[in-house]
Amino acid sequence: MKPRSQSGAITLDHRGMDIRISGASKQYENSGRTLQVLSGVDLHIQAGEFVSIVGRSGCGKSTLLKAIAGLESIDDGSILVGETPATAGREDVGIMLQMPALMPWRTVLANVLLPYVIQRGNKSEGLARADEALELVGLSAFRDAYPWQLSGGMQQRVSLARLLVRRPTVQLMDEPFGALDEFTRERLNLEYSNVVQDQEGTTVVFVTHSIAEAVLMSDRVVVMGAKPGRILGEVLVEIPRPRSPKIINTPEFIAASASIRGMLDSAGGE
């Protein structure tokens, strides 16, 4: 990888954290019928690992991610993030959603600063880091613009900057680029994996329904199936970094994609 410009690099001031999920189960009661969203999910994600979770709609991947973020409870089992059980409001854990969820009355800068405002962080540190994060996503020129003046792709960049501003060691990504067009998405995929690579020790859990996206970015892809929501298997992606869009034609990429598809197909489902 080429050296990064001095301005963009972010160095983490804390050690990485792993995520230990054991026996995670959850069910919903829906008009008399019980829906098993998660059934005994065991997963250990190492510190500094980039793991994608792929699966069809309804396989519980998003529920699992929200449980790691402390936004969903589980009925059984445990989820440890670092040394402590999963809970919302941690500075060292950040989540990014499919929707930018920006506040139209706040400028781009103020939106990026939101985590500092809510978690009552140091204001001048927040400002410095917000500028840094905006530079990293290439939106420095738009810091005083309002979200509705930006395109969808740019709004999602703002959302990414808001995630990065507190430099969370664990980054939980819930189909963050799923609503974007193919080209913008691919571009953001590569940019984001570069950002992550520069932040040593960052653990990423990336939920997506795109096999290509998962393989492009991840060290490991976990495949989930529905009814009940469970882990079907996993595939290691041993393609060196930094990666470029060209890797999609390499045998490694094709092989990884094929075995993921194989797992999804053998599980059936609609």
Partner: protein, 279 residues
Amino acid sequence: MSATELGRVPAGLATTEPNPAKSRKARTRISLRLALPPVILLVAVCTVLEILSATKVLNPMAFPAPSSIAQSSWTLLADAFFWESMKITTWETVAGFLIGSAGGFAIGALCGTSSAFNRAVYPWVVVLQNTPRVALAPIFLTWFGFGLSSKIAMAVTICFFPLVINTIVGMASTDPSAKLMMRSLGATRSQMFFRLTLPSAAPVIFAGLKNAMTLALIGAIVGEFVGADIGIGVLIQQYQFKLDVAGGFALVLLLAIAGLILYGVVAWFDRRFIFWQGK
């Protein structure tokens, strides 16, 4: 890849910056084009009425000519008692608006925050909303007397409910993703309310406020009709006794202008605070 390079904004995604301020001339032309049709319509209708009245096709006693309404308005504007009455009615309206919408907002915010409170209160809001509340005017007269308070009470009652409902609806329109984001950051209840739900609801609340201002004026006038010593409502009734229809129309006209001004004040605050709306 350098940070700036990787973050370069693709040309196709360039922002649509708000247009550079349009030239004064162009703006004048646009407002002229907007203002002209209604003005032409007004002149046309007045001319027809004037002719119908002058030719006695319409009885000028019952349907006074626009010119005599204008004349009566002019006379009223020079009358100190008219201004005294207008002051009273405006005061009743504004006081009723402020109390009613503050109360409506408070109850609506409680409904939007606590589902238990909402379950208990909301059905009654719907019931009372559908009660013809002007029918309460005589009761308020008994309770609060001939003074200002019965009219203020009427205005409060009328503009309270739209605010309750608009506040609830506005709060419910909060972006669920933004809510999830706030929860993930560990937002407290008050942060959630002041940083997200309230600003999200603000456009709908302001729509309710504009509505409430109009309703408050109606409330005040109805209150005055039922029993008062002074106020535009009283003046209108006096003119009716005098069979001065032109004067009555003039009062309605001036009342409408007062109502427009009050509405305009709220609309000004709306545009000023809710700058992101419709973007």
